[in-house]
């Protein structure tokens, strides 16, 4: 018996969201009196043994050329084989793009009850109940899982990573791997920037910026804070900013430590994608802007004056000029 954590990688590096999933998985293992193991597919450049820090005792690594790119069908069969070998009773994914592709498939394959968007450790005695985010983070649901094997996809930034001591045993696992049916022909990365879903700090701006030519100050603020940039939907629709920056109900949902909203009114559909943020700062010239109701800190003022001052003050704090 074990808890099995799926380790997600990009360019051979373990994703931050997977460190959260490992910490979470090892806590569940403690709770149900078993050990936490993990599986990683495809090429890895990081030192896997050091992932023992997150409570993982054993890591199954499956390397095979057919696993160089994600084909959910192929990956699912491999994870199912590892889950079987590990005697996994609980399987944990991060609820990120790859998790969303693989975890539900695995659920159907193993006929194992699946809860996506988990935000806390499960209640495990009695039964097995997971708290998940619903209604675009406007509410939570407690979902009970009735099957012997349970699959959970943990929301990124919902569970704090804890690193202690420990090394993991890494074994290379021989799986049957089907040839992929999905052929990846091109990959475009928002290079050098912080990916939006993993960012600790996000600087976001809306129609209040008047036009794309004014984004310099937004980017400067983001750079100063090592933050990712985001925008409201009309801004992406007007092509002021790329589509992959659009956050909200119909865009990306994020949960950074700090979300800074500049010239965004705070429509309910926008809030749906950002209200899991720990701290929200709103800069808006209209004191009646609905966003202030969802904010922790705010400045009622003109973004064109406030944002450059804000950036300067942060530089001063960080001792750069």
């Amino acid at each position: 018996m074990s808890v099995l954590v799926y380790i997600d990688t990009a360019d051979g590096h373990v994703k931050k969201a997977s460190l959260e999933a490992m910490t979470y998985g090892s806590k569940i293992a403690e709770q149900i009196g078993t050990s936490a193991e993990a599986v990683v597919l495809g090429p890895v450049n990081d030192d896997l043994t050091s992932l023992g820090k997150y409570g993982i005792k054993k890591i199954y690594n499956v390397a095979n050329d057919s696993l160089n790119h994600l084909d959910a069908q192929v990956y699912t069969k491999v994870v199912a084989q590892v889950a079987d070998a590990a005697g996994a009773k609980v399987i944990v994914f991060s609820n990120n793009t790859n998790g969303k592709a693989i975890a539900p498939r695995l659920s159907a394959r193993l006929k194992a009850g699946f809860v996506s968007g988990a935000v806390a450790l499960p209640e495990t005695s009695p039964g097995f109940t997971v708290k998940k985010s619903v209604f675009s983070a406007k509410a939570f649901a407690n979902v009970s899982v009735n099957t012997d094997i349970k699959i959970i996809a943990l929301n990124p930034n919902a569970y704090q990573t804890i690193a202690t001591d420990g090394t993991a045993e890494v074994i290379s696992f021989n799986a049957n791997v089907d040839p992929p049916k999905v052929k990846v022909t091109n990959v475009t990365k928002a290079s050098g920037e912080v990916p939006l879903t993993e960012a600790e700090i996000v600087v976001s701006a809306g129609r209040g910026m008047k036009g794309p030519e004014n984004w310099g100050m937004v980017e400067e603020l983001a750079k100063t804070l090592h933050a990712a940039t985001a925008c409201s939907r009309p801004v992406a629709d007007a092509h002021w900013r790329p589509h992959n920056e659009h956050v909200g109900q119909t865009g990306i949902a994020i949960a950074p430590n700090l979300y800074i909203a500049i010239g965004i009114s705070g429509a309910i559909q926008h809030l749906a994608g950002v209200n899991r943020s720990k701290v929200i700062v709103v800069i808006n010239k209209d004191p009646e802007a609905p966003f202030f109701k969802a904010a922790d800190y705010g400045i009622v003022g003109d973004a064109f004056e406030v944002v450059p001052k804000f950036t300067e003050a942060i530089k001063k704090l960080k001792g750069v000029s």
Partner: protein, 247 residues
């Protein structure tokens, strides 16, 4: 080319989120129901565009729901599907719902199945993947572009911090999100035509439910915003650093 588009019914994006029956049920009182935005704006409209480009494309819609889903499926037909199937069952268990759709998909032998990225109420993001596994078909999640190329599809999907373009042989299951298409408004002709399009109601097949919602809760209310004078921006930086420990 036969396309199956999965349509779900969700509360309007501005609906008040409240619960009844000792916090075990969503309070639908006064709530307006809509087609889940991902199903409408992205997957259905993209399917309609494919039909516009090639008149031989046939679009079927499927929803798993009670009779109160009929207005939603009629609206989807008004936008452009050819016929609709409603599986007469009310469930929030993804495996149960996916099993029902899988049955419909098997009966209709489709070349392509579109789902939305997720429902905006239960946020499962799971029906597409489960369906693909039940049908043993390739699955591309979170697609933002979709083109047909003979018996293949060329799909762009979201990956962490970027996008990836891939080719996949059909049949396949695709979950759709922003970028696939632009939202449309049904026109009068479509609304009239929808009245005579077939809406078949079928009874569910037997399938297991693997999960159950026990209760709901609402997040604690925010303490209220702390406003900082625009002439004193460094105070905001101090608060973020010392009080919120966010920078």
């Amino acid at each position: 080319m036969k396309i199956l588009v999965c349509i779900s019914k969700t509360p309007d994006t501005t609906a008040k989120i409240a619960f009844t029956d000792n916090n075990t049920k969503f309070d639908g009182n006064g709530v307006q129901w809509i087609i889940n935005p991902y199903d409408e704006w992205y997957s259905l409209v993209r399917a309609i565009e494919l039909k516009e480009a090639d008149a031989s494309v046939v679009i079927h819609l499927v929803t798993v729901g009670a009779a109160d889903a009929d207005p939603i499926i009629r609206k989807a037909l008004a936008l452009g599907g050819d016929e609709a199937i409603r599986v007469n069952a009310d469930s929030h268990d993804s495996y149960y719902v996916a099993s029902q759709i899988a049955e419909v998909a098997k009966q209709g032998s489709y070349d392509l199945v579109f789902t939305g990225k997720e429902t905006i109420d239960y946020n499962g993001s799971s029906i597409g993947g489960m369906l693909a596994e039940l049908l043993d078909l390739p699955y591309i999640a979170l697609a933002s572009k979709f083109e047909l190329a003979g018996t293949k599809a060329i799909v762009t999907r979201e990956i962490e911090g970027g996008e990836e373009t891939c080719e996949v042989a059909l049949p396949a299951v695709i979950s759709c999100q922003k970028g696939m298409a632009e939202a449309r408004i049904p026109n009068m002709r479509g609304i009239m035509a929808a009245r005579t399009k077939p809406l078949k109601v079928v009874e569910p097949v037997s399938a297991d439910s693997l999960t159950g919602i026990q209760s709901f809760s609402l997040p604690p209310a925010k303490a209220g915003v702390k406003l900082v004078d625009p002439e004193n921006v460094s105070e905001l930086v101090r608060l973020l650093h010392e009080e919120a420990k966010a920078i």
